[in-house]
Symmetry: C2
Subunit: 210 residues, 2 copies
């Protein structure tokens, strides 16, 4: 599990190196697994300690507690999506192409950080940490909606349909991957991004010559 990598600061004084299986990345990866299985509220520090095979105080050596683990996990998902959004914001080209590129990049982040994005999508705003994550998610949603609106104005996307609904459906399509995709799936991010953009922009139906 290397997905977290340098995105996380090493906690002061922790022996991250030389103790395989007990560094912050590993603690976080397993915590996210347990949160996804049992729900955040349904997971106790006792359960985390059991699953990690280390004591609760060893967990507190790495991180302040359950809420801090959730914060780090959500940040890992959001940082990936925000970077994709920033790249698309800075990119030249018509809105419809930037929208397609945002969809494609979002699929890549989702596949690469699958358990983290899965956790993010289940957040409902039950704590300050969750509400901050929702605020950051909404900023990305707004970019999608703006690109859809611009693409409709450009005449590149059909204006017959409500752009806000289209924006939600496009992300619903991407996010639905978390419902069935398993880590290490034989489907690559590239293949999935291709199918999703084909569905959304090309339509699946073969257009025959009359």
């Amino acid at each position: 599990m290397t997905a977290v990598g340098r995105a996380l600061p090493a906690p002061a004084g922790s022996a991250r190196r030389g103790r395989p299986g007990h560094d912050l990345d590993t603690v976080l990866a397993i915590a996210v697994e347990v949160f996804n299985e049992r729900g955040f509220d349904g997971t106790s520090m006792e359960e985390l300690s059991r699953r990690l095979g280390i004591s609760k105080s060893a967990i507190y050596h790495h991180v302040q507690g359950k809420e801090a683990l959730l914060g780090l996990a959500l940040d890992h998902a959001l940082a990936g999506l925000e970077q994709a959004a920033a790249e698309v914001r800075a990119a030249p080209g018509p809105a419809v192409e930037r929208l397609e590129s945002l969809l494609r990049r979002s699929v890549e982040v989702l596949v690469e950080r699958l358990p983290y994005v899965t956790l993010l999508l289940r957040v409902r705003g039950n704590s300050a940490t969750e509400r901050q994550a929702l605020t950051r998610r909404r900023r990305i949603d707004r970019l999608v909606a703006e690109l859809v609106e611009q693409a409709v104005r450009d005449g590149d996307l059909s204006g017959d349909v409500d752009p806000a609904v289209v924006a939600r459906l496009l992300f619903g399509l991407v996010n639905s991957l978390t419902e069935w995709l398993k880590p290490g799936s034989r489907h690559t991010a590239d293949e999935l991004a291709g199918i999703i953009t084909a569905v959304a922009f090309g339509g699946l139906r073969v257009h025959r010559q009359p």
Copy 2:
């Protein structure tokens, strides 16, 4: 709340009529609301009793317990979806049109029975009731996959993409409605079904003449 209607048998000896707010339909509707808010495992009979404003024994007058409420709720969602599937199985016409019609009917069921379908989509198989529901859901998923495969063989859907993935994405698109649609939304089932089939089959992008 009339969505449950005649689908539910009246429990023997219950005074369903003449006690507004306390019949089985109402108990079920409010239980589903609480399950969706707090999770099934996070909901106690005490909480249900508080939200319903009736005693626990008054709840047991209608239904055996929490698990039975879950069973009735999931059955209400599944019965709607299974009826749609049965209609599509019996319908004449090419697979691509029956697939589109199954998508459209599924959106209608989802909008009409929104909290029930939302609950169904969160089921992970944690009990016999949940596992039975998953088995019934998978039967519908298989019909979708079969229709996609047949439509590819008919040359009506692009064969460049894995039919199993397409089937999952099509239902992911429909099911993503539960993430943001609110009961009493200004979006009608008809409008949403139109947008979803337009995304899936027409593609959103305007095809300009070269």
